[in-house]
Symmetry: C2
Subunit: 367 residues, 2 copies
């Protein structure tokens, strides 16, 4: 045997994608580059700062490519992610999360001490008081107010509340108020604009400036210019794209840079194929779909059920050839970000030839 | 500050659970021990061999505890999992998967060479031919026929097909036919028994013995004695249990050994709480539920939506006190196995005091 076991577990540049063992997520280099360039060009055209969210890829080399294309800083969702990217040289990091509790504040402060542009968000006096109590005797922490402009997750509920909390932060020891942040509902630009512009005006009337107003999300990214109150936009999924972004109209199927490479391991019946990719490769994220991904080349195939290591595909609607045992197929996942979180390494390719393997450096970090 | 950052990231014995940063899955030692003992006692009473599926925990120390309690061998779902457990000293490993392709066969053979009791399954002549071609000139591989007794995943569709494929394996160079395997539909013991007993009889009529007939699953585990054709039972989830096992009637809520420890980070409205545990902690597995876990102590709270790092809880039905910002809460996940797959370490505790931290040794192995 000339087969090199170690190299198979960790593919190397020059390997053929078809020779990889499955399940494996793979990233198309040209689509990746295209996605970065297209979104950056849009932001540049509209004079918006762009802050990519690294939760989608968790790979420093990709964030460096995003910044090289023109992005201003990055967005993380947790302290440990931000630490991994600080290790990789990033200085301007916004953590869009309410950070609470002594065990997190000590790490947040250590991170604040070693990079120049750390920023966090808060949506309550409870969070702000916790930050102020801790940072009052330390290097000042920059804080934005998180606003619920319709997304119904975190955030203050009105422009008046945003202004009130912003003013509160501005008066608190240890804290530097820097503006507003929202993770908006898609297709809701008018309401987002209304909320943010009112909050900025209310703060200005109180003599409080908002240097940063940060809007976000990939699904309605190309509406970002309609939110003129925003100074910057954040987005993560756009770099890989996925089935939900195709449905949202953000991109075409040909812009989906991530595929899950899977093998057909069983054809128990004429209408059933079983693949070696289940919820531990595709995840159970439905995002409004009723099935678990799009099988490339078999448009009528329906991935109707997942267990951890198996995916069950209904072929009953397939009018053309059906995949056979041993065939390797590619699947566009419903949601790419959660797939990144399952794998320690990501394999990149161009035209089916491996170009590089990157560690998913910020995967599996506990908090 | 006396806070030790490194020890916080990796908690140590004696730490209080409430001091852990969140999100964190935690395992109750006494419930764990109780679950192992209860199921083993049932198997012993009915004279069934028991083969725990390690996919649920992926931790060698727990498999050693299962074997110490009386289990005969272990069940893995992929080669790389089996390798991790062979490294930990296990010899009797059944991989319940159709293994295909040269890149996997080379590793399967290397594993077969180093442990005494490796077994795999197959449900097609395509899989069997691939195994036989490779193993014909190597140490013989033991193969069982996977039977679809109603689970509608992999498996031959009838006792006649099972007998035919069993006889085929028995005649193939490099392979040793050892019996039948099924992953059954829950609450389907009569049909499972009918399928397996017929297949055994057909094989016996052809002069082919079935030393192993292995049935499986946790939901209907306590019906395993009704499948008298089976010589052994496999189950994974029973060791931790979860919300879906409570619903299935397999266990009580007090038998759920895994909780996700989460912090309330936002209370944007009277009826909404947001926690720091999203799909990267709880997973999106619904398993027939319409929400994403059971909040301990808040029976009317509904985890209605997850994004990667946030969980949105609807409190509108709560009649008692509502959780406040900063509160740490415990959640019973819908499905415990997929949570194990997200974390590199698992924290164990007794009465809220950390007892040990185990590496999730077989997590994130690609195939």
């Amino acid at each position: 045997m000339t087969h090199d076991i170690a190299s198979e577990i960790s593919p190397k540049a020059g390997d053929r994608i078809e020779a990889l063992s499955t399940p494996r997520p793979i990233i198309d280099e040209d689509r990746l580059t295209g996605n970065i360039a297209r979104v950056q060009a849009y932001m540049d055209k509209h004079g918006l700062n762009f802050r990519p969210h690294i939760k989608t890829h968790k790979i420093p080399a990709l964030a460096h490519a995003q910044v090289a294309a023109g992005a201003k800083g990055i967005n993380c969702q947790k302290i440990t992610e931000a630490e991994a990217f600080a290790d990789a040289g990033f200085e301007d990091i916004l953590i869009t999360f309410n950070i609470l509790g002594p065990e997190k504040l000590v790490r947040l402060s250590a991170l604040n001490d070693r990079i120049s542009g750390l920023k966090v968000v808060a949506d309550s006096t409870a969070t702000v008081d916790g930050l102020s109590d801790y940072f009052a005797t330390r290097k000042q922490l920059t804080v934005l107010v998180e606003c619920d402009t319709g997304g119904a997750r975190c955030g203050v509920q009105s422009p008046a509340e945003a202004a009130k909390l912003g003013k509160y932060i501005a008066g608190k020891p240890g804290l530097n108020f820097a503006g507003l942040m929202t993770y908006p509902k898609p297709d809701n630009a008018a309401a987002t604009q209304e909320f943010l512009s009112q909050a900025v005006a209310l703060l200005k009337a109180e003599g409080v400036e908002c240097p940063i107003v940060t809007n976000g999300g990939t699904p309605s990214l190309f509406d970002a210019h309609l939110v003129t109150a925003a100074t910057e936009h954040r987005a993560g999924t756009y770099i890989y794209n996925d089935r939900s972004m195709v449905r949202a109209g953000h991109c075409r199927e040909e812009d989906c840079a991530m595929h899950i490479l899977a093998t057909v391991v069983s054809r128990p019946t004429e209408d059933r194929a079983v693949i070696d990719s289940g919820s531990k490769a595709l995840t159970s994220d439905l995002l409004g779909f009723t099935d678990y991904g799009q099988v490339v080349g078999y448009p009528e195939a329906v991935i109707k059920g997942l267990s951890e290591e198996h995916g069950v595909i209904d072929l009953s609607k397939c009018t053309g050839p059906r995949p056979q045992i041993g065939d390797k197929i590619r699947i566009i996942p419903n949601h790419t970000c959660v797939v990144s979180n399952l794998f320690d390494q990501m394999v990149f390719h161009r035209d089916g030839v491996v170009t590089r393997v990157e560690d998913v450096a910020a995967r599996g970090l506990v908090w």
